[in-house]
Amino acid sequence: MREKDKKIFSEKEKITRRDFLGLSAKGAAATMIAGVFSPSVGSMIGLGGVAEAATKKIKPFTFAVMTDGHLYNIKDHRFDAMFMKAVDMINNMKPRPDMVIYGGDIGQTGLEAEIKKGKNMLDKLKMPYKVIPGEHDWYLDMGKAWRGFFGEENWSINHNGAHVIGMNSIKIDDFWTGPGLTPEERMGRVLELECNSCGPWGVEEDGLEWLKKDVKKVSPDTPVVIFTHSPLWDYYPRWNFATKDAPEIRNILRKFDNVMSVHGHVHQVVFNKIGNISSVGTSSTSWPWPYPPVELPYPHIRHNRLDPGNFEDGMGAHHLSVADNGVGTMFYDPFEPSSIPDAVKRGVKL
């Protein structure tokens, strides 16, 4: 972590003696905290929060969200500028978000150079950030470059009394070995939204086991925010607007009073609520996907018709504010304000 980020967190986080004892007792859990955090600072914001959650007190906070940059390894590609515009937008948010979550698909074809280009721009954020992978980041080298830049694909932190989770939800059963596909051919298949031979995605068994352990000791009255690339509900499986083991994930998280799911991949404004879990989709910084041919569960939460001649229409960043009662509100921060209906601009309750 950079010095300025350490400073932000050292100012924000007050470690009590109780927190410190909790940290000592659960030192092994520090391995969960990876990515951009060094172990010392990660432990400070993470395990300190476990104790905070037990006090049932939520200190309001805001996370910014950006996702789906789909950067190409082409110099001065227009997606670079859109990515950077989201970074600048977040840097200028007032009040400044505590943290930024990147929702996957930094690159388009999985090249290390694409992911590096994105990381270089994310490093210009004035606050700490965490990243989850998307399928475009993964299936050229099976996540090698991504892991080298960002660390563990499943992580959690505790922040101001909330439990925040990021998971790799784009794991696919091996469809490439049988036909003898090269890595490039495998990636070529996966980068088609309507890939026929790729099969559905999920966190798979090891992800479910990780999640069970992660939330085992988190009290049910702790607000949970979970970031995945794909939606945790069956929106439109043909385009992998779904996660195959979402029912199991929802079951693991069923004990909590309020779970806020934020996902990338869909490149659009969309919302759903299943039991205690509210899910909200995000705009990209690359292109918008059309709405699939299914009825939206909440048809009033969608973006307006977009102008293909305006490359910023339908794109943007977001911020999620969690209040002291543990209820979150997702705000879309579009590059082109007319893309978002006024009712949605006022925020989506999670």
């Binding site: 298949r189 031979s197 292109w287 059309p290």
Partner: protein
């Protein structure tokens, strides 16, 4: 020409004309539209359109006519969605006139994908139109439609799988 001779010539001409009509009628009659061979020819065009749509490659490899910035049709139009073949011709703001789907495909190629574009009667353009139209089959003709539409619903977890990766 005497009347008797005129009648003879005329009769012969009518007879010859009838034979020609019958023969040419047999030769020129079109195979039924649902003939398997015709449909295969259409599907060859759809498959070529699918390839152009998704890979940016056509006959001979990468097509600079199609894209020079990595973007392809499928980036924004999976399954040919939001192409609305049933709505064209219509007034399209970006074209600034009443235009056709082929003209709009070229607009996307040139403006969004930084490609050169194709002749409107080229094999590639027809193939892409065939792909978009096939993927929206069954849509009711609706000239001027401006709402965003997507193709038919395919339920279930992804596609039927085969080794070739064809849809």
């Amino acid at each position: 020409m005497r009347k008797k001779q005129f009648v003879k010539v005329s009769s012969a001409a009518i007879l010859l004309g009838s034979v020609v009509f019958l023969v040419s009628g047999t030769v020129q009659s079109k195979e039924p539209l649902d003939d398997a061979a015709d449909f295969d020819r259409l599907m060859d065009a759809v498959a070529y359109g699918d390839m152009l749509w998704h890979t940016g490659e056509g006959e001979g490899g990468k097509h600079k006519e199609l894209s020079t910035n990595g973007l392809g049709c499928a980036n924004c139009h999976p399954d040919g969605s939001a192409t609305q073949p049933q709505s064209w011709p219509k007034y399209q703001t970006n074209l600034g006139k009443v235009g056709t789907l082929r003209e709009m495909i070229n607009w996307c190629i040139q403006v969004v994908q930084n490609g050169k574009g194709y002749a409107l009667d080229s094999k590639e353009m027809i193939a892409m139109e065939a792909y978009a139209t096939y993927m929206n089959r069954g849509a009711k003709l609706d000239p001027g439609l401006n709402a965003q539409t997507a193709p038919f619903v395919i339920s279930g977890p992804g596609y039927p799988t085969n080794d070739e990766g064809n849809r």
